[in-house]
């Protein structure tokens, strides 16, 4: 079966692992267990008439101590830039990561995800600041489950085009 590698990138604690977990296992955990290195999961999906195995590479979030290892994106068909809507700084981080990835790997399909939509009344990220980039953008809640599947399937669809 066709395999596509998709990477989750973003600042630490934005919900990358939780999004994958929601998508693959349909569960959510309030507890925060930070990812070390890479966490790899797989999920078979059908897009239109085509079946594909998504290899989901959940990369450790970037922090002040450790930078994203861009070589982990080698062979990826696309990636997901995850932002925590409650932390304005995580959007800046996503913008910075996108620039670095494009700089090293050339243009790769990606989507921007504003996560924690269940906490929308506490969001700091401004719509205008997001719109400025003109990137395909999804709002998700790993907690409530909203938007998660749509987002993964939309990217998968784009990778199959």
């Amino acid at each position: 079966m066709l395999k596509k590698k998709i990477c989750m990138v973003g600042q630490f604690g934005v919900g990358k692992t939780s999004l994958v977990r929601r998508f693959v296992e349909s569960i959510f955990d309030e507890r925060y267990l930070t990812t070390i290195g890479v966490k790899i999961d797989r999920k078979d999906v059908t897009v239109g008439s085509e079946s594909v195995t998504l290899m989901l590479w959940d990369l450790a979030g970037e922090d002040d101590l450790a930078q994203l290892n861009v070589s982990h994106l080698r062979g990826a068909s696309g990636y997901i830039l995850v932002v925590d809507g409650c932390r304005a700084a995580s959007l800046n981080k996503a913008v910075e990561l996108q620039r670095r990835i494009a700089g090293q790997l050339g243009p790769l399909p990606f989507v921007l995800v504003l996560n924690k939509a269940d906490l929308r009344d506490r969001w700091e990220v401004q719509d205008t600041a997001v719109a400025e980039h003109g990137w395909p953008t999804f709002e998700t809640s790993a907690k409530a489950g909203s938007g998660v599947e749509e987002m993964f399937l939309a990217l998968a669809g784009k990778l199959l085009q």
């Binding site: 604690g13 070390i36 890479v38």
Partner: protein, 591 residues
């Protein structure tokens, strides 16, 4: 190989182009299939491993990052790949549970701490905004409340009522202190404190702090001693308000924890910093002391030596934390020394600039009465309570007050006639105080005071930008208002002034002495109204004994007249003496 398996390694040898052969037994965690099928992570590691096997340089092994995936049993496991250099190209896959847990506990801690810091910063921000708003909301009615109490205390009251009123006043003052502490602390926390940089007289600041602290210290029978070493420069540039606040905090604490003995304030040059203006202050008491293990934490927020202390002695426990921040902003440090049972000393250092030339001696404006009688004042405030309050403050001053309820009416009224002073509330309907100031300023140079409930520096800036003469923060004390008016309106006629020379060393206390006598005038009037001749006799007796000592012979004379007439129950003569005293106090000019 069994040893390696036991240690959690699976060992593969690179046998051909991208094909790997397992050496030794298969560990139970090894997923089925080829190594590259079993471990998708290898797709990013093998290119690096190939490069390493081809040219290993000085290294003996190349480690991959850790990764997490399902193992043979479906559980999540943590792995690491190691390319080993040598004759044979060996690839080790380590089931690295322990290393993973160690790495994670470290990173987890860093991330949680970082998230907590962000959260705290956000909460602090929100709290500061909330507190600034609350301080506004609380200070405005507090202004009205405390003002009313001040006015009420000037009316005839019986003993019981007076006692209730004192409790009211004390509770109100305490509440205001708490509010101010919280406001200060939140500003300190949010880094919103900027120090003032103005010229001031160190001796005066210390004297003021001591005078305030003395009220409570004396009530407990404590002596207050003040020693400024002769080589300390007294004319400095810095933030006198904050310095006074530090001293008051330290003196307040010393008073709280001391039951007998004395409090000392010592100022000397800072021997560790031989630059002019670097000073060392020490506030000592003979109180219960501080246990050795608490000495280093008492300057942390909310840390009185003991939570039970807060209950017993009251206070927010923020005073020392605020003082610490102020001291640090002044380029100094604060620390404590103590012998439990024998007393404590709070030390702090601070750096000031030394002012060049002594200022010309200020006018003797300490006694606060309106110098000029018959001033015409325009007052605009939409709150009836506030207008009532100001009216009350000015009621004995002989001023004529015209009241309006908003800025637009104020501007209209101002066009109708000439005023000596304009008092504008900052927040009013129709036209606010700032806009009204601008319009009135365009019409003339009359002194304008803006009254606001905002203590923050930005509010002052905004007022001055609008062109006001001065900015008064609510709750406004009577003395502050009167002083401001005196400052703004030049003395009309000097002819009826009584000039009294006062010896230099007495000057710092003369203001307070005269202010107390002014308070006596009120008490005397009240006592006369209810035929309380005992009080009049007693007050007269006190004046008689003290006036001359300060150089105010007439006060001694009036005092003795009061004492005599009270004994004789001669109310007409008492009334005349009280008026004499009032007139004398109003016209006195200290030199």
């Amino acid at each position: 190989m069994n040893l390696l398996t036991a240690l959690g390694f699976a060992v593969f040898e690179r046998s051909g182009e991208a094909s790997f052969r397992l050496l030794g037994p298969a560990p139970h965690w090894l997923p089925a299939g080829s190594v590259t099928e079993a471990f998708p992570f290898l797709e990013v590691f093998l290119p690096d491993a190939e490069e390493f096997w081809a040219d290993r340089g000085a290294r003996t092994a190349l480690y991959s990052d850790l990764w997490t995936q399902g193992g043979a049993t479906g559980d999540e496991l943590h792995f690491c790949a190691i390319a080993v250099a040598g004759e044979r190209k060996l690839l080790l896959i380590e089931c690295a549970e322990q290393r993973f847990q160690q790495a994670r506990s470290f990173v987890q801690y860093a991330h949680e701490a970082s998230l907590a810091r962000e959260q705290i910063a956000k909460l602090t921000q929100a709290k500061t905004e909330f507190l600034a708003r609350m301080s506004h909301e609380i200070r405005t009615p507090m202004n009205a409340l405390l003002g009313m109490v001040e006015l009420l205390s000037e009316t005839p009251l019986n003993d019981e009522q007076r006692k209730y009123l004192q409790v009211f006043q004390r509770a109100g003052d305490n509440l205001l202190n708490v509010i101010n502490d919280i406001l200060d602390f939140s500003k300190v926390e949010a880094g919103q404190i900027d120090l003032e940089n103005i010229e001031f007289d160190l001796a005066q600041v210390i004297q003021e702090a001591i005078e305030i602290a003395a009220v409570r210290a004396r009530a407990k029978g404590l002596a207050l001693v003040n020693r400024i070493q002769p080589n300390v420069p007294t004319l400095l540039i810095g933030d006198p308000g904050r310095l006074r606040q530090i001293l008051l905090n330290l003196l307040g604490n010393a008073t709280k924890f001391t039951d007998r003995g004395e409090l000392t304030v010592l100022v000397e040059t800072d021997s560790d910093q031989p630059v002019p203006g670097a000073l060392h202050f020490a506030v000592s008491d003979t109180g219960i002391g501080i246990p050795a293990d608490r000495l280093s934490t008492i300057f942390d927020s909310f840390s009185q030596a003991d939570a039970s202390t807060t209950r017993k002695y009251g206070g927010t426990g923020l005073g020392l934390a605020i003082s610490k921040r102020f001291v640090e902003l002044m380029g100094g440090k604060i620390w404590a020394e103590s012998k439990p049972g024998a007393g404590s000393t709070m030390h702090f250092t601070a750096r000031f600039s030394v002012a060049d030339a002594p200022k010309p001696v200020a006018e003797g404006s300490a006694p606060v009465v309106i110098r000029n009688r018959g001033l015409r004042i325009l007052l605009a405030d939409d709150s009836e309570e506030n207008r009532f309050l100001i009216r009350g403050y000015l009621k004995d001053s002989g001023c004529i007050i015209d009241e309006v309820e908003n800025g637009a009416e104020a501007v209209e009224q101002f066009k109708q006639r000439a005023y000596d002073i304009v008092l504008l509330d900052a927040e009013m309907p129709v036209l606010d105080g700032y806009s009204a100031t601008r319009e009135i300023r365009a019409l003339g140079a009359t002194p304008i005071f803006l009254l606001t409930a905002h203590a923050l520096r930005e509010a002052r800036a905004r007022s001055f930008e609008a062109g006001c003469t001065d900015h008064l923060t609510k709750p406004i004390k009577k003395a502050t208002l009167l002083e401001a008016i005196n400052k703004a309106v030049p003395a009309a006629s000097v002819s009826d002034r009584i000039h009294v020379p006062v010896e230099a060393w007495l000057k710092p206390v003369v203001g307070g002495y005269l202010e107390k006598r002014r308070g006596d005038v009120r008490k005397l009037r009240a006592a006369l109204d209810c035929s309380d001749y005992d009080t009049i006799r007693m007050l007269g007796h006190q004046m008689c004994g003290t006036g001359g000592g300060y150089g105010f012979e007439p006060i001694t004379e009036i005092g003795s007249a009061l004492e005599e007439s009270a004994l004789a129950s001669d109310s007409a003569r008492m009334r005349a003496s009280i008026e004499d005293l009032d007139r004398y106090l109003n016209n006195i000019q200290v030199e």
